[in-house]
Symmetry: C2
Subunit: 389 residues, 2 copies
């Protein structure tokens, strides 16, 4: 192998990543269309593509006639084998694990119901480890090699230490998740953050790089994407939409304050005012035209809209994305959300279509977790090429 | 002159800027302490410093004994002559202009009362142009050479086009400010943004890189500093704290919505509920113990605290800085602000000392405007060295 200088090697790493990320955004590009897209010469791209093909990170898909004039090129795609990412999710009442390939496709998945609230963390983590081992084994049979695992938790995490600092709905404080699951390749991340990243990476709304993502399981989970990156805040606690005051003299919240969004639009409050036992029941009642359920959802939508109008006035995002379990309730929540935003956003016209529903649904968090391990490969494919040598 | 390659030249530009910015943050550094601070060798720093001294951007201040062992070095400082910045401010009832030197010191300043509300823009800009010409002339006599002018306006701007898009309190729509004042070196910027940048660049709170800055003249002006940069949002409209809903069914706001922060803590609302005619009167009444004035300020502080607690929950800044004219009222506003933040910020303990008052006072915006032109010199001193050749 030719010895390269530091700067040349850095440039090559960056260019390899440019090619991989171009193909992650759009399928079936040719060497020529990649060159045009990333701003490199056709010859440079050919060399890079050959290297990535040899390493098994790309594959060829046969001739493709370009839309414009010229010879047909060979369509390229990210490989469906090789490096992959494992995602794992600790919910209040379930555990799940999956493997995605370089393309972000879910290749294997397992889930089991579990009453995790108040259950000893060691027992939860032992069961999760089994699910992870199971999907990792299945992945191996598909010629996929997982390069990392990301665990989604409904709580506050220290990513550096791989711990859950506090997850009140699980009853966890300072739980060393990464240590329990294999510290070298395990990342621990808040589920709301992963939901937003999933939308950024895998969602339908391709051009969105600045948005507020709102979801909910028990609490309201929100996260901010700014200039294509997760906005974490100075200490990593940004995105707490659930405790934005909506009616400051309103009901007492679990956080000790009054009138937080969560007291109007959190799952517990919503189910209570709708007279429903579960989110599924609530959805069914609303779909069946039950006026109490519909009214409860409309009121929750208005509260969500009030909190979001504050967020939009402060942050000026391109859009608000409603995702996760909330997306199922969007038909009844969105009118109130849109009305409040239209009334309260001042500096620009806020249009109904600036509030969008995610199509990733309930699987967004788990797919985002798995794909975040894959992102590391897209960001530095050279590291993987060396490993494969 | 030795011909340099592109990469070498880029490196030199960056290193010159590192030295300038180190001295902008801390006075009286020596070549050795700069080297330690910016991570370059003593020899490299010496060459850079010699070049900056020759260009008149730095000056020597005589021997300084270092705190630790070693020979005394020569203390260095940014020059008090040479490149300078002009700031200009269009207020509702005044116009002002000033010049700051490389150190950020105000070297000349002029101000004139003016009833700008509803006055023709051309007339306002003609008068402002005279003030600018006056301070520019005074600067020349002090051996200062202004390199740019920034105009602060109470409204929404298009920086690219150098226009005010909308300034309701002036009655302006689409006013081409830069064209009127000399398009090449004139930048137009929102006053709240400049107040926040002034705090970042010139304030007492040196280590703050993530904060919400709140001020007020007629409206509530806020701006967000994130990782040491102004956070503008997707379309440049971020920071609209004044229209965050506080009591959603509250009084009608000028924006058409109900219960915005501005309806509780904006100048007009505040003066009305305090029974005062001007902010100065209000301050005097509060300082004299007038219970109506004090109560009005306490209520406004609570409303401000409710809106800010939403902002802090969303953004997780290190601190909230109360600046501009609001800083004068801080003794009466801050208790309410601090109480609401302590009650409503969830994920971390919010301490009273995380709300700070700016010491830049009413001059913050004007100084920030002038210094933003100087920043261009600090960021690329090489450009100025060539001009001086």
């Amino acid at each position: 192998m030719v010895k390269r200088t530091g700067a040349q090697s850095e440039l090559r790493h960056r260019n390899l990543s440019l090619v991989m990320r171009a193909l992650a955004t759009e399928d079936d590009l040719t060497r020529a269309t990649i060159a045009a897209e990333v701003g490199l010469t056709r010859a440079t791209v050919s060399t890079l593509v050959d290297e990535l093909l040899a390493a098994g990170l790309l594959e060829e898909r046969g001739a493709r006639r370009p839309g414009t004039v010229g010879r047909p090129g060979t369509a390229l795609a990210l490989a469906g084998t090789g490096p992959a990412g494992i995602g794992a999710e600790i919910g209040i009442d379930h555990l799940a694990a999956c493997v995605v390939d370089l393309r972000g496709e879910v290749r294997c998945r397992t889930e089991s119901p579990a009453a995790n609230r108040g259950r000893p963390a060691a027992s939860v983590l032992a069961e999760l480890a089994e699910l992870i081992a199971q999907v990792a084994k299945e992945a191996g049979a598909l010629d996929l090699r997982p390069v990392g695992t990301t665990v989604a938790v409904p709580g506050l995490v220290s990513r550096d230490r791989g711990t859950v600092l506090r997850a009140p709905n699980l009853g966890w404080e300072d739980v060393a998740v990464a240590t329990a699951l294999g510290p070298h390749a395990t990342v621990v991340e808040n589920e709301a953050n992963l939901g937003a990243l999933a939308e950024l990476w895998l969602g339908d709304h391709h051009r969105l790089a600045d948005f507020v993502h709102v979801s909910a399981e028990i609490g309201i989970g929100a996260a901010l994407i700014v200039e294509g990156r997760l906005f974490r805040g100075a200490r990593g606690f940004a995105g707490e939409l659930g405790h934005v005051p909506v009616h400051p003299e309103g009901p007492l919240c679990s956080c000790g304050a009054h009138g937080c969004l969560e007291t109007f639009a959190g799952e517990e409050a919503l189910l209570r005012s709708a007279g429903a036992g579960t989110p599924r029941e609530l959805r069914r009642a609303a779909a069946g035209g039950d006026p109490v359920a519909i009214r409860a959802l409309e009121d929750a939508g208005a509260a969500l809209g009030i909190a979001l109008s504050g967020a939009v006035n402060l942050l000026d995002p391109q859009a608000v994305v409603v995702g996760g379990p909330l997306a199922d309730l969007a038909p009844w929540l969105l009118p109130g959300v849109r009305r409040e935003l239209a009334d309260r956003v001042t500096d620009r016209q806020w249009r109904p279509e600036d509030v969008v529903t995610s199509r990733l649904g309930r699987d967004g968090v788990l797919r985002g977790a798995a794909y975040s391990a894959v992102r590391a490969v897209l960001d530095d494919p050279a590291a993987w090429i060396h490993t494969a040598d």
